[in-house]
């Protein structure tokens, strides 16, 4: 049996104990997969990099369909783009396929097992629990050896660089002081251990992946955190602030029109419905990976959060954050719960690096729990909305 590719190894390391293989920091995850597949091709002497471009030096298939597909793609546009662009392109366009293929390989090898636990459209996931943890332990052992004083193998150095780029060292070694690895990793990066033929290429890929992942992570996470925090604060502020008094003067004020004029109410209501449906559509599309090929899922996720913020504003226009009575209270309660849990999940995901720095572990699990809460709060909304709209037209 041939040895595991980089792509498979890094994927194994990125998986969690539940076999989700969907780390929350997908930007890093996707870059890592892109980098890994490029490294696989470099170690197989199929590609090389120079200052301007990443070029194919040997278009012969490697025999591994996963690598060959990417090789063909690069060969088709050889010489026209640099490493950074390719990491970007592959991470955006191919990460999902690479993940599927690598996972399929690992299942075939008897390392993982596939369990489809999807239900109710938006819930659950396909999990890949480990049935043979020998491979993963082997990789971890190799990394640990290299991080202590052993003479490293070039592949291991490359792997460590990728792991470091993905910032998953603390998760791999929860008992160790990861900060202390810093100097050693820096040293490993400088060591000229890799065969001359691929040294430049691997180093270039490493640098690119680290840079790209970090840049993307920072940009995405910062935006996510800011937007989510804005949404959360908007909900919290309007919920906690005392009721806004209406002017005790006769005449159509803006707030009176918003909250008590039938026409305005209808507009704001349908706008809210439209925004909510758009948000739901985006979430499902991202989950089903329908939109990833269009603009990358991160942009869509940010857009999802932005829609959430728009929902908060329109909801305020529609209700003044008054909870009404009975059915309306239930509708409002679930809607606000959906907005708040969504904002919290967004903030938690965006704030993951900060949380990790603060020593919080297993952030992925917490984040998924928040997203689950978000989804559960949304479940009753269609039914409640139908009843709400019906009451308007029947009474």
């Amino acid at each position: 049996m041939p040895m595991l590719t980089f792509t498979e190894e890094i994927l194994l390391l990125l998986g969690d104990e539940e076999g989700m293989f969907l780390p929350v920091e997908e930007h890093a995850f996707e870059c890592a997969l892109a980098g890994a597949v490029l490294m696989d091709l470099a170690f197989a002497y199929r590609i090389d990099t120079d200052l301007e471009a990443l070029v194919t030096i040997d278009p012969t298939p490697t025999g591994n369909p996963m690598l060959d597909r990417v090789l063909a793609k690069i060969a088709a546009r050889a010489g026209t783009t640099d490493t950074r662009t390719w990491v970007g392109v592959l991470s955006r366009e191919d990460a999902a396929i690479l993940r599927e293929q690598a996972l399929a390989n690992l299942v075939e090898r008897g390392i993982l097992e596939k369990r489809d636990e999807r239900f109710l459209w938006a819930f659950g996931a396909v999990r890949y629990p480990t049935i043979d943890d020998g491979a993963e332990r082997g990789i971890k052992a190799r990394i640990e050896e290299v991080l202590s004083d052993d003479i490293p193998h070039p592949r291991d150095v490359a792997l460590i660089s990728l792991v470091d780029a993905c910032e998953i060292l603390p998760d791999l070694f929860p008992d160790r002081d990861v900060a202390s690895f810093g100097p050693r990793i820096a040293l490993l990066r400088k060591m000229d251990l890799i065969g001359r033929e691929v040294a430049g290429t691997i180093a270039e890929i490493q640098r690119t992946v680290v840079r790209e992942a970090r840049a993307r992570a920072e940009r995405f996470q910062k935006l996510l955190l800011i937007l989510s925090a804005c949404g959360g604060l908007a909900v919290a502020a309007t919920l906690l602030s005392p009721p806004i008094p209406l002017a005790d003067r006769f005449g159509p004020g803006l707030l009176e029109s918003l909250w008590y004029d039938r026409v305005w109410k209808q507009w704001s209501g349908y706008l809210l419905l439209g925004l909510s449906l758009a948000g739901l559509g985006i979430a499902v599309a991202v989950k089903k990976r329908l939109v990833a090929r269009i603009a990358g899922s991160h942009g869509w996720r940010l857009f999802h959060i932005a829609l959430g913020i728009a929902c908060v504003l329109v909801l305020f226009a529609h209700t003044g954050f008054r909870f009404g009575a009975n059915m309306n209270t239930a509708l409002m309660g679930f809607f606000v719960a959906a907005l708040l849990s969504g904002a919290l999940a967004g903030a938690a995901i965006g704030g993951t690096p900060r949380l990790r720095k603060m020593g919080v572990r297993r952030t992925g699990r917490h984040n998924r729990a928040l997203i689950g809460l978000h989804a559960i709060a949304i479940c009753p909304l269609p039914a409640l909305l139908i009843v709400h709209v019906l009451t308007v037209y029947l009474y």
Binding site: L120, F250, G251, R262, G324, N326, A383, Y395
Partner: protein
Amino acid sequence: MSPKVVPWAVVAATLLGAVWFAAAMTVGGDRSALLIGETTDAHHQIEIACETCHAAPAFASAARAEKALNRGCRRCHDKELKAADDSHPRKKFRNPRMAAYWEKLDARLCTSCHVEHRPEITRVGAVTVAMDFCVACHSEGDQDVRADRPSHAGLGFETCASAGCHNYHDNRALYEKFLVRHAGEPWLAAVPVHEASARQRSRKPPSRAALARSDAIAPEAALADPAWLDRWAGSGHAAAGVNCGACHAPKSGKNATREKILARWVDAPGTAVCEDCHRPQARTFVLGRHGMRRHPRVAKPRNPLRQLRRIGLSQVVPDEVASWLADAAPPTTMTVAEARIPMRPDAAHRALDCGTCHTPHAVDTARAAVEACASCHDDSHTRAYFDSPHYALWRAELAGEASPGTGVSCATCHMPGTGRRNRIATDHNQNDNLRPNEKMIRPVCLDCHGLGFSLNALADAALVGRNFKGTPAVRVESIDWAKKRAATGKRETGG
């Protein structure tokens, strides 16, 4: 529990809920959970009979729904508005020449100012617009009151209705000429007697019909309790010749034989037997808050079979299911616990029908006029009554120390006698002259008090709370202003 169960359960529960509510809306069943906001006082008694007001067909246009809603208002309130000589009647604003006013405040629609289920903007009198609403039409052009009346120049529009000077609907005791005519009246009349009460209380039933203890026709078991018999023999019923059978065997007919009465005897007859004779009282009782659940205009429960036919599902849904969806029978009486004003906790369970205030057999109207009220009502005004000059007068009248009509009971003001000459009946619509309290001036206050004093007293909320023990601390200037204006004019009639 597997985490999978939670979303499934939530989705299933809400779908079931949605189906249930859709059925409740279109076929039948409890709809209280669909109420979008607290219903205003009094209307809350009939809030489950949605069709009373929401009479438009499903998916009617907004304009049509609004029209139907307003027709609902008028069906119940039109008569009282007419009686109040409504200052802003709908007919006045339907003329197209008033179109400019429709934009400002559409007075053709009750719902322009009174919107239901909006507790957060509902003000006094179930008004849902800011209380300075007069500004809409009376602040510019020919209708600018400040330009027309120098005395009004510096007044804010929020004071029009709150200072005891004007009401939107009922100005029977507030219009200029009335003020002028009653200017300078002393605070208390030389002979302070409430006319209608005096006539009612001095009324004697014809003695030739009077029945005694021995005349009672009832089963042995019923006659066994002497207390019942005594109470009846001392009551107005016995004095007016109303024997046991009139109420306990209503189906035996007039002048029935003893056998027939005993054969058709009912131990606990309903209030229908009361209504049979006391028609004006029964008619007005359902108009007030005490009896409005029996108002004939309150929508009847929906027939689920008919509703199913209407939406074309009568073939699909089996009759058993349909009957299971039927509306609950609406309560016909109001319980004390449902009241939204302070009530005695020990009376919470009591339901309001004739017998609540008028004990069967004794039918003591004096008790019904004071003690019956205080056995449920527990607000400051009620509690203060027993320490008030009005109550002292009432005690004096009951003790025979003062002539009929000089005492002031709760009913004297809140359920005054109405009608002409000898056909006076107690108005059982307690709401008739309740709010705005200036409505009380003509039928009640003015019989004993001067208009100026009455206006001041009613405008002094603290004094009302003390049940008029003390003197008004508020001075309503409207009489002075009206006098001043009348003095500057020449004559006051015109063509």
